[in-house]
């Protein structure tokens, strides 16, 4: 039996539990857990596009991570450990519920549902796609009312991926916590070995369950740190590795461009340029933002820079924008030339709807040019 395991019981039976308390000053990776207490809900909401996170209160949040017998899902994939971390006035409390036998599942799930129900938002990593469904499946199977529906849920996977996906080898929690929060795991048991550890334990063989508890503990603590980080990415003074500033500014440029928040595109693309960004999408979006905010000559110059720096679909599209802007500014020859460059580049680089949109745009420029002359 893993060390320090107490018994918790409720109407559905009993199960094992290990509780551990952390003061707010407890340092995990490069900073203290307590940093999360000032997390800014409005930033989370902007970043995720999820309005329900605007009122995010870290003091009421539940940080959740589970261990299961497999990744495939389905009724037979059991949740044998649930790690929940909450802020309890003076510090954080980590509650690790554990199945000492498969028969304890109803009691553990009941306790988990009740704990989640008592608090506010959920914070997880990939939990919208995995943890929540594994728990809900098992709860329905065992006749426990799930408590996830309608509750704000911050799934850190998506903002992390959006911000840094380009930079890191993969989007795993272990990668994110190392790169963003300075968490180094020693002697970590890879998650894939967790099912075997539990099976060994049940069969009475030598097992690695202690490592599973530790793995789950680090996962949950890292959720707290990642949450602090993500809730601050719009701050000027975000503590981060130097090389990440540029990547973050580029990602935010793209994010705000898709939201059509052109002022913020100007702001974040300027920062990206300050950080020596040469990313052409950043330039293209900046050009677009300049255009949308009425800075036509500047937009024209930047589009031309994007267009002439490579031979690809983006360049073709940039040529089209050059022709539109040149036409608007009365530089008909320049527009004419850009039209030709755009057409010839599009013919070898673009297809489908992007191509159709571009052709349509160029056609309009041509007809305007014909009228203009």
């Amino acid at each position: 039996m893993p060390e320090g395991l107490a018994t918790e019981s409720n109407a559905r039976g009993e199960f094992g539990v290990r509780i551990e308390r952390f003061p707010a000053e407890f340092v995990h990776g490069s900073a203290a857990l307590g940093e999360v207490l000032t997390a800014d809900g409005s930033q989370l909401s902007v970043l995720t596009g999820d309005a329900s996170l605007r009122e995010f209160d870290p003091r009421q949040a539940t940080f959740l991570d589970i261990e299961t017998t497999g990744l495939s899902g389905g009724a037979g994939t059991q949740v044998f450990q649930v790690g929940l971390l909450t802020y309890e006035g003076a510090g954080f409390e980590l509650w690790q519920g554990f199945l000492r036998s498969p028969a304890e599942a109803p009691a553990l799930l009941e306790a988990c549902a009740a704990r989640v129900r008592r608090r506010g938002a959920l914070v997880s990593f990939f939990g919208k796609s995995f943890d929540r469904h594994r728990l809900e499946d098992q709860m329905r199977l065992h006749g426990v009312e799930p408590s996830f529906a309608g509750r704000p849920h911050l799934d850190l996977y998506h903002p992390c991926r959006r911000l840094y996906g380009k930079r890191f080898v993969d989007g795993r929690l272990a990668t994110m916590e190392r790169e963003l929060c300075g968490v180094e795991r020693e002697k970590d048991l890879p998650g894939a070995f967790a099912p075997a550890a539990w099976f060994d334990f049940l069969a009475g063989r030598a097992h690695a369950l202690e490592a599973v508890f530790l793995h789950n503990r680090i996962d949950v603590l890292s959720l707290v740190r990642l949450c602090s980080h993500v809730a601050r990415v719009l701050d000027d003074d975000l503590a981060e590795r130097k090389d990440l500033a540029q990547i973050r500014a580029e990602a935010l440029t793209v994010l705000f461009a898709t939201r059509r928040d052109w002022l913020r595109v100007l702001e974040w693309s300027a920062r990206a340029l300050d950080e020596n960004s040469r990313a052409r999408p950043t330039l293209a979006f900046r050009a677009r933002a300049l255009q949308r905010t009425g800075h036509f000559p500047e937009a024209l110059a930047l589009f031309e820079q994007v267009a002439s720096s490579a031979r690809d679909g983006l360049a073709a599209e940039a040529w089209a924008e050059v022709s539109v802007l040149a036409c608007r500014l009365g530089e008909l020859d320049r527009a004419q030339l850009a039209c030709g460059s755009g057409e010839s580049m599009a013919s070898v680089t673009l297809a489908g709807t992007r191509r159709a949109r571009l052709d349509h745009k160029l056609l309009r420029v041509r007809s305007n040019l014909a009228k203009g002359r």
């Binding site: 497999g70 495939s72 899902g73 389905g74 009724a75 037979g76 036998s101 498969p102």
Partner: protein, 843 residues
């Protein structure tokens, strides 16, 4: 010109009235008209051409007259059978039906019910499980749709129903009809199809909103049951399970599905529901025990068909003898092509059934090429078979319903209840292998009150020829028993894995009256899975699933599973069809000609590992036929029975054995066969891995003494031994419900394992399904039937009808085979003896 049925609704072409799929096949009151989903009349589109005009007046009576008077044909029709028109047997609606439902039916022109519908609905409303076994298009759908709707109305939309169809196409048909009814009731309910084609993005919405779920056994097995918590609302209120065409649930597939149903009932029970079964099937022998084996319940069986039928004429056509010495008759497919001149025309619709896909394609091509001679356009002649893509099939089905397709050539793909309306003439190229299939195919023709014609063209093989002499086999009472063995240990073990994944097993469950408790050995299988396989964890009388795996993914239901090979256009990468893996080594090997509706494609590359074949469109004047080589090794023997010689007690005469065998099948080479002339224009080798099969077998061995007496030890007589084997293999399907192709055969004059003559028959499916076990028990009857075939055969020294032509079974083949069969049939049956293990011959 055949009567266009005036009560049929035009199919959405009239613009001025909204189309609405009519109620599935209900009869209307006074006229009892058939309202199959808005089928149009078959009046031909006005087209020009002398041939078309000349031929457009043919109808079934004229065709029959012509066949009877044509001197070249009439002698070849060895048997005529006329079934008189039968009036409808009508009843009032049951007073227990909800008035809203009554009004809905009346609004749709349905005043009264056929007697079998009334009977089935009454049983269902009383909460009993029901099986309706009336012919195709007798309005079976109403028998389950009405009770399901009634339950929904009674419970204010709380009740849930699950419909299982053997094919995807059938569920699509039904969903539209059900939603139209629900719409007319004005209720916010939904029926939806959930299968492999359902996009993942909408699955969630469907799960949460559906009242009636239409799906197939594969999806239920691998998608729904393992994820039952996501479907907990469905299972909590599941009141009805509808299974259509239960006669297709036989063999390995049926036995697996019976276990899937056990899993389904188990999960329903977990969530607190006890659903009722409403089943339908073709006519069966002993339908009650089939339903019991399948569902574990005692069902009420409704067999009396109350729907009306027009006069039906059956003709058994035996192709002319080409070589009386060799007993060789003209090729059945060629004969069907010639008969088409009598049976096809622009004024009516004709359906051809062939038993092999290649035959469908070759005949489609022939008919298309001769289209103008029938007064038809080639586009009015279509092929249709499994393996065509869904949209392609839908288009052909529409054409048949609307009457724009005049001729369709198909396999058993159109045997089931896919709605194509009723046609006029059916041509069966060869006996389909079972009486049920024969009647399902025949049921495709016969519009209400109109005469219809069914022509079966006999092939040269034993079973077809036997039937030309014994038509009572076709028209008598059903005599085939469906092979269904849910307790088959291999199937049961695999299914128990899936069941244990879904819910833990408890000893208490196995002691109570629960679905799996009825199967023998369940506890020991679970113990085995816990201790040996390590998949389960047993604690305090409960077996928990304890593995990082999703077992349903690896458990096949048998039949044509999801393990298909995709057939792709090598240039565009687009799919043009699919084919089961087992058939792929003989149909899409490199160099094979693959045919789709008369088009020929050549296989450029076959990626066996990744199950993809890449093809290129070619104009080929030949098609290909692959040859295979099969080896059978005996692994283990179980039961055995022995008969001693009459003249010398204690000297063995012949023995029967059951056991397990390992079968290796290798595709060796393929022949290129020219269209029309069938001449061989070359052969090439095939290089593909062997298909392996572990299965059950039954073995007949002759003792050395008897073999000597029967002169089997003399060189050329050995071939007759194989002839006997082939004959038995062809006759057995009359007694077991299977196709000859479901039974494999290895005939050995000096078996390596038994060291004497042996005939090994094995189940042609992984793990076996009990066909050979069954054959072990009834082998005396089968041998007697085989003897009758040979002794009645008119040939001199063997022919394809009996033991095979002399080239195959030797100059003395027939005589030797006759002696062997007489010897085996005379005297007593062998007696069961000690476990086979102890009797096994020692080398």
């Amino acid at each position: 010109m055949l009567n266009p049925n005036p009560t049929r609704e035009p199919h959405g072409r009239d613009g001025d009235r909204p189309t609405r799929p009519a109620l599935p096949q209900p009869p209307s009151g006074s006229s009892a008209a058939e309202l199959t989903s808005g089928a149009a009349s078959v009046r031909p589109a006005p087209k020009s051409g002398a041939a078309r005009r000349a031929r457009s007046n043919t109808g079934v009576p004229a065709i029959v007259d012509n066949l009877k008077s044509n001197p070249a044909l009439r002698d070849r029709i060895v048997h005529w059978n006329a079934i008189e028109a039968r009036p409808a047997d009508l009843c009032e609606f049951s007073p227990a039906l909800d008035p809203r439902l009554l009004k809905l039916f009346q609004d749709r022109g349905l005043e009264r019910l056929y007697s079998h519908q009334r009977e089935a609905i009454d049983h269902a409303l009383a909460g009993r499980d029901v099986l309706v076994t009336t012919p195709t298009a007798s309005g079976k759908t109403l028998c389950y749709v009405a009770p399901v709707m009634q339950r929904l109305l009674e419970t204010g939309g709380k009740a849930r129903a699950l419909f299982l169809f053997p094919t995807k196409a059938l569920s699509q048909d039904q969903s539209a009809a059900l939603n139209s009814m629900i719409g007319d009731l004005g209720e916010p309910w939904h029926s939806f199809t959930y299968d492999g084609d359902t996009p993942p993005s909408v699955r969630r919405t469907l799960r949460d909103r559906g009242h009636i779920l239409l799906t197939n056994p594969w999806m239920l097995h691998a998608g729904i049951l393992p994820n039952h918590p996501k479907w907990s609302e469905l299972f909590r209120d599941l009141s009805t399970i509808v299974i259509d065409e239960v006669h297709t649930l036989s063999g390995v597939f049926g036995s697996s599905v019976a276990n899937v149903l056990r899993r389904l009932l188990r999960i329903a029970e977990h969530y607190g529901s006890r659903p009722q079964f409403l089943l339908s099937s073709a006519t069966l022998r002993d339908p009650k025990s089939h339903a019991k084996a399948l569902t574990g319940r005692d069902v009420e069986v409704v067999t009396e068909d109350g729907s009306p039928a027009g006069p039906r004429t059956f003709a058994l056509y035996n192709p002319p003898m080409l070589d009386p010495i060799a007993g060789l008759r003209a090729n059945a497919l060629e004969e069907a092509r010639r008969l088409a001149h009598q049976l096809v025309g622009p004024g009516h619709q004709t359906i051809f059934f062939a038993n092999r896909r290649t035959a469908v394609e070759v005949l489609t091509r022939y008919l298309k090429e001769a289209a103008h001679e029938f007064g038809l356009d080639p586009d009015e002649i279509r092929g249709y078979r499994g393996g065509y893509l869904p949209l392609h099939r839908r288009e052909i089905e529409d054409g048949l319903r609307q009457g724009t397709v005049k001729v369709v050539v198909t396999t058993n793909a159109l045997e089931l209840g896919i709605d194509i309306g009723r046609l006029d003439v059916a041509v069966l190229v060869g006996y389909p292998g079972s009486q049920a299939s024969f009647w399902q195919r025949a049921g495709r023709v016969g519009r209400r009150g109109n005469p219809s014609l069914i022509v079966q063209v006999a092939r040269s093989d034993a079973i077809d020829q036997y039937l030309t002499q014994h038509p009572e086999h076709l028209f008598g009472a059903p005599r085939e028993r469906l092979g269904l063995d849910p307790d088959n240990l291999v199937i049961l073990t695999e299914q128990l894995k899936c069941a244990a994944f879904e819910l833990p097993f408890t000893k208490r469950e196995l002691a109570a009256d629960t679905p799996f408790a009825r199967a023998p050995h369940v506890a020991s299988v679970l113990d085995y899975l816990a201790s040996e396989s390590g998949l389960l964890h047993e604690k305090d009388g409960t077996w928990y699933w304890m593995a990082d795996a999703y077992p349903a993914q690896d458990v096949s239901l048998g039949g044509t599973g999801p393990d298909n090979v995709l057939v792709l256009d090598a240039e565009s990468g687009k799919a043009i069809g699919e084919i089961e893996r087992s058939a792929s080594i003989t149909t899409v090997h490199e160099g094979a000609i693959y045919q789709v509706e008369g088009e020929t494609w050549k296989v450029e590359r076959f990626d066996y590992e990744n199950r993809r074949a890449y093809l290129k469109r070619v104009e080929s004047d030949y098609f290909t036929e692959a040859e295979t080589d099969t080896e059978v090794a005996v692994l283990r023997l179980e039961r055995s029975a022995r008969r001693d010689r009459a003249d010398a007690p204690d000297v063995e005469d012949y023995s029967m054995w059951t056991g397990e065998v390992h079968v290796t099948t290798l595709a060796t080479q393929y022949k290129k066969v020219r269209f029309y002339t069938r001449e061989s224009v070359g052969a090439e080798d095939i290089h593909l891995p062997a298909e392996e099969l572990d299965t059950q077998a039954v073995v007949l061995t002759l003792s050395e003494e008897s073999a000597r007496e029967l002169l089997l030890d003399q060189g050329d007589r050995g071939a007759a031994w194989a002839g006997v084997g082939k004959l038995v293999r062809h006759v057995a399907p009359l007694f077991l419900r299977c196709q000859p192709s479901d039974l494999g055969l290895s005939a050995q004059v000096k078996s390596k394992h038994f060291r004497r003559p042996a005939l090994i028959f094995y189940d042609e499916v992984q793990g076996g399904v009990g066909l050979s076990e069954h054959l072990y028990e009834i082998h005396r009857e089968v041998l007697a039937a085989a003897l009758e075939v040979v002794s009645r055969c008119d040939c001199h020294s063997g022919c394809p009808v009996c033991v095979g032509p002399p080239e195959e079974s030797g100059a003395l083949g027939k005589e030797t085979a006759l002696t062997i069969l007489r010897h085996l049939c005379a005297g007593a049956a062998p007696a069961e003896c000690a476990p086979a293990l102890e009797r096994e011959p020692k080398p």
